[in-house]
Symmetry: C2
Subunit: 569 residues, 2 copies
């Protein structure tokens, strides 16, 4: 080609600017234009809860580079040699003529931009169901910097005291922390029977819910918002659900996003079953000159082996880079996501990678699970805290399918290691020997993730038999007689206990001796704080001829039902 390649990018937030910048680095001659409907570009939407909390002083911190340079049209021109146009809404694509039709938001004038390669990075939009009263003042969604500024203005103006957050996912729970820090009374309403249903299985959600409640957040699960009602000034006053109503001066809808695919659909591009734009492994749509990435496009899931819809700034950046390479003559395949997600919720880190038990079972996989919490570093080094951890593996192959974490300890590290292991198809047996960095401030000699793999390995090889708290509840419902054997030290028992009528206390150090007095035919469920000692107790009892012993998976830390004395530490 004698003339320069013309690249048009629709969408200026994450995948779009990344694709444009990468394209520039790969092709210094290309003419590159970014069209963005809104006013803001290249912003860090994930920072909005912290802006609202006040941890981030100004909205411009979310729009600037780490050294404080604003990523505006001038920046894109000077540094990237990219034409960035804001207030330009792409309305249609003429694929035959290779033209993007655009409406100038300010003037409503129609314009058109010719392309050789078009990149769709139209993102996603928050779900906003047509509930009565949803347009009242102080009912918000959180997506754009403008949304964050609106909430801040709402906090300043009306001095709201009570907030209702609808949806207990990452944004809802990050906002719970932000608004509690701002001094508000916060209620979180979630339609599913648990918090963070997208990321966690039920019993992991229960541990997080206990933490939320310890911070004063009211959590209402299995409850659906029906409508909003306001005061005389048209400002929110009450949130009504299928089960009751809540006085509220402020509400935020955080019930998810859907891919913004109208432009692609109108242009006749194929839309996948997930509702996002279908792309091949090179991130091309059904039109070979049009690429799509980020929240508007499907992402291949390595464990599920099929496309999924994920909204993720990380994915957008990774895909943007690949698109930038491929539209300038490269050929890089996108290999897929493993669905890793993490969030800070008050003092806890919570996250998931791979499949939850729920999802794995829905896929028809036969799984083994372990609740295997542990300390994040050596107990004798100051600041050690627990990480609750659930591991899911395929029974037949021992392949690691998923890991969930929740707790005050350094859970993010274990999550990332697990994500890497899942990416490479690790088995539990492999993981049980993994050579990670060990020093007392960072880990115990055998890291808790490796320890968890050892627990799972013990289960898979039949050395250990565990019972999950949910299975135990089932047993109890069936009228099964059992002894919940608390083998902790007296000091630990003093601190926090399972609230359950069948608990009996025998410290581990006395169990070999005491076992002789225990009726051998009952079902014993030994447990401790984490259940390493619960497992040890199982082996002791089995060694003495007891045939019906299963340790309680996850111990006190993972007990999803009532405790006496609040949170375990």
């Amino acid at each position: 080609m004698s003339r320069n390649l013309r690249i048009v990018v629709v969408g200026g937030v994450a995948a779009g600017p990344k694709a444009a910048a990468r394209a520039r680095r790969c092709d210094p001659q290309a003419e590159i234009t970014i069209l963005e409907k809104g006013e803001f570009v290249s912003y860090a939407g994930c920072g909005l809860p912290y802006l609202i909390e006040g941890k981030i002083p100004e909205v411009k911190d979310l729009l600037a580079t780490p050294v404080g340079v604003l990523r505006d049209a001038q920046f894109f021109r000077a540094v990237k040699d990219i034409k960035l146009l804001t207030g330009k809404e792409a309305t249609s694509i003429d694929r035959a003529q290779k033209l993007v039709k655009v409406r100038d938001v300010a003037t409503s004038r129609e314009e058109s931009y010719p392309y050789d390669r078009l990149v769709l990075a139209t993102g996603a939009v928050p779900v906003r169901p047509p509930l009565p009263g949803i347009d009242l003042k102080n009912v918000f969604v959180i997506r754009h910097p403008g949304d964050g500024m609106a909430v801040l203005a709402g906090l300043k103006e009306g001095k709201p005291q009570r907030a209702v957050l609808i949806g207990a996912g990452a944004i809802g729970l990050e906002l719970a922390e932000a608004l509690v820090a701002r001094g508000l009374e916060v209620t979180v309403i979630e339609a599913m029977p648990q918090v963070f249903p997208g990321l966690l299985d039920f019993e992991m959600g229960a541990v997080l819910q206990r933490h939320l409640e310890s911070k004063g957040v009211k959590v209402r699960t299995g409850e659906r918002v029906a409508s909003f009602s306001g005061n005389q000034e048209g400002r929110l006053a009450r949130v009504h659900t299928d089960k009751g109503e809540y006085p509220a001066d402020l509400a935020v809808l955080a019930i998810g996003v859907r891919p913004n695919v109208e432009l692609a659909r109108q242009a006749g591009l194929e839309i996948g079953q997930t509702g996002a734009i279908k792309v091949d492994q090179y991130l091309r749509t059904s039109d070979q000159n049009i690429y799509a990435g980020g929240d508007c496009a499907e992402a291949y899931h390595r464990v599920l082996g099929r496309p999924v819809f994920v909204s993720s700034g990380q994915l957008a950046n990774i895909q943007g880079r690949i698109i930038g390479t491929n539209i300038t003559g490269g050929k890089v395949a996108y290999r897929g996501t493993v669905g890793t997600g993490v969030a800070k919720v008050f003092d806890y880190t919570v996250g998931c990678t791979g499949l939850t038990e729920t999802v794995a079972k829905n896929e028809g996989l036969e799984v083994v699970t372990a609740l295997a919490p542990g300390l994040d570093h050596a107990h004798y080094y100051p600041g050690a805290a627990f990480v609750g951890l659930k591991m899911v593996a395929e029974r037949s192959s021992g392949r690691l399918l998923g890991v969930q974490v929740v707790g005050p300890g350094d859970a993010a590290k274990r999550l990332d290691v697990a994500a890497t292991a899942i990416t490479y198809g690790a088995t539990v047996s492999d993981l049980s020997q993994l050579n990670l960095g060990y020093a007392p401030p960072y880990s115990v000699a055998v890291d808790l993730l490796v320890q968890a793999a050892q627990v799972m390995d013990n289960k898979l090889t039949g050395v250990a038999q565990g019972v999950s708290p949910l299975a135990l509840k089932e047993l109890a419902a069936q009228g099964e007689d059992f002894v919940l054997l608390d083998v902790r030290t007296p000091a630990e028992v003093q601190e926090v206990r399972l609230k359950h009528p069948q608990v009996s206390v025998v410290p581990l150090g006395k169990l070999r001796e005491k076992a002789k007095e225990l009726p051998p035919d009952r079902l014993y469920i030994p447990f401790c704080k984490f259940s390493m000692r619960g497992y040890e107790a199982q082996k002791i009892l089995q060694g003495q001829g007891f045939t019906r012993v299963q340790f309680l998976d996850g111990g006190v830390v993972h007990w999803p039902f009532e405790l006496e004395q609040g949170e375990p530490k």
Copy 2:
């Protein structure tokens, strides 16, 4: 067999007790005996520097379980049904009769213990060269709890003011932190030309050395200790090296350990080329009834593809578990280490996994390297700090060979992810798409490790051309003319600068414009804090027809030579 299996374990610190405890869980009937020469068992030797620092209140914290139960003979009997005997030194093995001969340390009486399976977990001993004056009072090594207590007593008694630490590895540098915290003037003497030579390449060591010096530690590299001299009371007064002498009231030798293999050697068991006991993948020695693990045995290195000697509490635990399984009828293969090591040194985390550039080159591998530091989490979220990172990959295959980290940010997480990736044979191209957990408190959208893989990928595919600081020094030595182009903002330049006569400042945002004024035939080396902008500058200049441009690998953060204004933040 009608009678119970007799298991004898020699060594009561890490691999030994672990093997014994695992064996018990796999075989409730076995008769298990641990023979330990010393007084202490199952202790956390890695915690000793923190005991000396005062972060750990009492030595018993290193001898107890997380819930405060002392791991003594009574504990092993009651909980594990294991006979633990201290003060029993194994003196020889009669392999034909399957007997371990033992000397009781207190009574000097000879005893013998019959075994069906013998486990050697004799550990390692600190290297203590026969230097003049080494037996003076207040010249210590650090290995056993007794050593830690001796140093504490030394600190209490003589009120020492000046310490000399010999060896700049993990223990030496952890002690530097401990003794500075105790108010001592600390000098570290290292025979190699850099700190932490076992873990880091030269330029990574330089970053760590700068941090040590900022904390008041005097660092002397390339200097060998020759002798010690004392005062009239026989207490240390001076440390003499090949280059000078240092007044000192206290010295610690931390120049490594060697495997303790005398018992095995005497028994005619095969000793490997590393000097440690040779074992097969099931951790059996050359005698099928004798197993060895932990510091006394060789460990297979997955990247090198051959046995190495590593001293590691983690390895000891992982191998102990495998031995416990295998001596009771199981058959689990040990798959190997990737040489992961980490240490906290003042406010920095420092570590390595896989191979350093030095080691890789010694192996004859052709490598590409990148210095690719980054922030550990979103810059707008409070507390973000940098992690210095060096990546080493094989040029032909793009396989990740090693990662080193150093800096104030959360480096331990990236190290563990890299260790996992190396374990599974990841390529740089794979890693450049890795789906890790992203939320502003934990990471930037594209984690710094993934970013580093992208830098490496750019180098491997020819999109980026970097020059390492050491290669640059070489160029300068050859009289090459070049411009070190500082493309940072004026505020950053104000804060800290490379001390180099060829530096020229052009902020990135002005470079496209200014480039027209620059002579096109010179060699340009653009850089910034981390060199992402250095790379961007390279692409800008190349896009404008400059043919001789290479960005400075790692930027200001990794500059191993003099800076104006101290440490980068």
